[in-house]
Amino acid sequence: MAKTITDVVCPFCGTLCDDLEVGVSDDGKKIIDVYNACAIGAEKFLHSQASDRVTRPRMKQEDGSWKEVSYDEAVEYTATTLAAARKPLMYGWSSTNCEAQAIGTEIGEIVGAVMDNTATVCHGTTLIAVQDVGVPSCTLGEILNRADRIVFWGCNPAHAHPRHMSRYSIFPRGFFTGKGAKGRRMIVVDPRVTDTAKTADMHLQIEQGRDYELLTALRVAFKGEWLPDTVAGIPKKTIYEVADLMKSGRFGIIFFGMGVTQSLSKNHNIDQAICVTRDLNEYTKWNIMPMRGHYNVTGSGEVWGWLHGFPFALDLSRGFARYNPGDTTSNDLLVRDEVDAVFVIGSDPGAHFPNSSVKKIWDLPSICVDPHLTPTTAVCKLHVPVAFVGVETGGCAYRMDNVPIECRKVVDPPEGMMTDLEFLERVTARVRELKGA
């Protein structure tokens, strides 16, 4: 007979579902099943139970083989590497809790590191745009209860945030949205016919890389001004129709993803989408929200926001915070040979960075703190496996709408394994000794 733990928070994507139920064995040591989660979320819990999981730090040897080392040795290598570096890059921070992010930032301050999170290849451009023109936003709860016009622009929640549409945006019945999906109009803007696009009332199959033009055309259409016959492959008649549809709602929301943040125009796409939202507020209530990927990438931006004023690409090398994406962002630093050590936690640049950047990580003294075996652990010199946050340890995470949610511990980590927080605390203490800080 298994026990069921309720109200478990899913540490996978930025939707941060908080209604999971996890069945554990009577001794509370093993996860048997996961309920309510999507396939990806369930796998995250079950993967922690893998029999071939790495449970001790490993150091790469000269012949390319791996040798198991103690956590003490791992702390020593990490601390001495970071303390000796003149410009270490401390990257990742998105799949760990805010407590670990805060203590990690302390290490960055002591050693004079550049701190960057996964937003750098994701929603960093959103953060640039928000700084340029502000952001009218809301919480997912407000969307559930009020929204009747939903736009998904360059994102595919059916696959990337599988429970988003059922929990918040399209299907649920809320206080003022009693008819559920029937009372909502859904517009998808995507060059591909995605599974999200297939469920939409209106799919604008836009030419790739022309989002900025289409967003501009919408703003022109709101004002009733002249438009060319087609913009971004969309006939002007359709654009005027969409503009009217957007104006006619009671409460609208634009969700957007990688399709606009990392395609041509990048931050300008978001800048213009925010201006579209701002313009719509002349007629009715509209909001805009990024579909954040990692479950706590929002949290790392929040933590650095309150500690240093910038949400990513934070350069602490000269003892004060500087920020300029294009200069202080991970890939620019790596490709331009501006860093001399790399520390990665809670993310996988080995899989997501360009090959030219990954090669640089391979060449440099490098540490990867991650519960899994990933392409990044393969290119780093030291791999420190840790407990899964949200499964084997709790901690605070921020949902995509900037709502903080406390994750729950469900089972114990394998014996003798450290959490991110414990490891970083040990490294901080040692770095302090080495730097005399």
Partner: protein, 266 residues
């Protein structure tokens, strides 16, 4: 005019941050004092003399000081940043932030200048004889004031995002430019003598953009209002004039709405 010559003797392994390379910092100093000024590689402080052989001495004021960098400094950032007077000549390539926030004086880069050159500048002159990178004469992140005065001339091509949030001054690019020209522009003039790819004048409030070559894809917020015969930077010709960006806010002055103007040469 007193001349200070910096000859690169060591290539920095990480990039060098040398915001002290400007007439303002060198004025009134002897060679040894200049060599003693600080530069940074990451978190570590070095002296200028470890990377450059310094000869000559600064003039009494910045205006009377000429700085000559006799070699390639493509790994040295912040050359001429915030300078107010005098001149800087770079005989090779320069890294990011050449003349960022400069207020006066002249910078000449014989080679290429990397990104963020002339960012937020309010006066003075930057001449790049090679190519310029992205964000030429643009605003610093989050600032609504890009280039506000002065002149930037690029003999080669320029990258993307030139003149973002520009509010005054002039950018002249002889070659081609990448996407986003004068985004959020609210004053000043951008002249592109080659081709521009797309996103020209997006979210433009006011100011002028001239393109002599082609624009691959026009922004939908621009309306053709007629043709004009004008002289632009010494070149006379007939230009098609567009107003925009019609989706953006526009001020009213003397009962008239002010638009950004985009001129395309026939």
């Amino acid at each position: 005019m007193a001349t200070v010559t910096l000859k690169p003797i060591k290539v920095p392994d990480l990039r060098l941050e040398a915001d002290n390379i400007k007439p303002d910092a060198f004025a009134g100093k002897k060679a040894a004092e200049i060599a003693d000024l600080h530069v940074f590689c990451g978190n570590t402080r070095y002296s200028l003399g470890e990377f450059f052989e310094v000869t000559g001495e600064g003039g009494a004021t910045a205006a009377e000081t000429e700085v000559v960098i006799d070699g390639d400094v493509s790994r040295v950032k912040y050359i001429g940043m915030k300078m107010t007077a005098g001149s800087v000549l770079v005989k090779g390539n320069a890294d990011m932030y050449v003349g960022a926030w400069m207020e006066g004086g002249t910078i000449t880069v014989n080679g290429d200048a990397d990104a963020f050159a002339g960012m937020g500048m309010t006066g003075g002159e930057i001449n790049v004889l090679g190519n310029a990178g992205n964000y030429l004469g643009a605003a610093y992140r989050g600032d609504w004031r890009g280039m506000q005065g002065g002149v930037i001339r690029v003999v080669g091509d320029a990258g993307s995002d030139i003149g973002t949030f520009m509010r005054g001054g002039e950018i002249i690019v002889n070659g081609n430019v990448d996407v986003h020209v004068g985004t959020h522009q609210e004053g000043g003039t951008i002249i592109v003598k080659g081709d521009a790819r797309s996103k020209v004048g997006g979210q433009m409030v006011e100011g002028d953009i001239y393109v002599f070559g082609d624009i691959e894809v026009m922004m939908p917020g621009f309306q053709h209002i007629g043709d004009v015969d004008i002289e632009v930077d010494g070149v006379s010709g007939r230009f098609a004039c567009y107003k925009g960006d019609m989706g953006e806010r526009h001020p009213r002055r003397k009962g008239e709405t002010i638009y950004g103007k985009l001129y395309l040469k026939y």
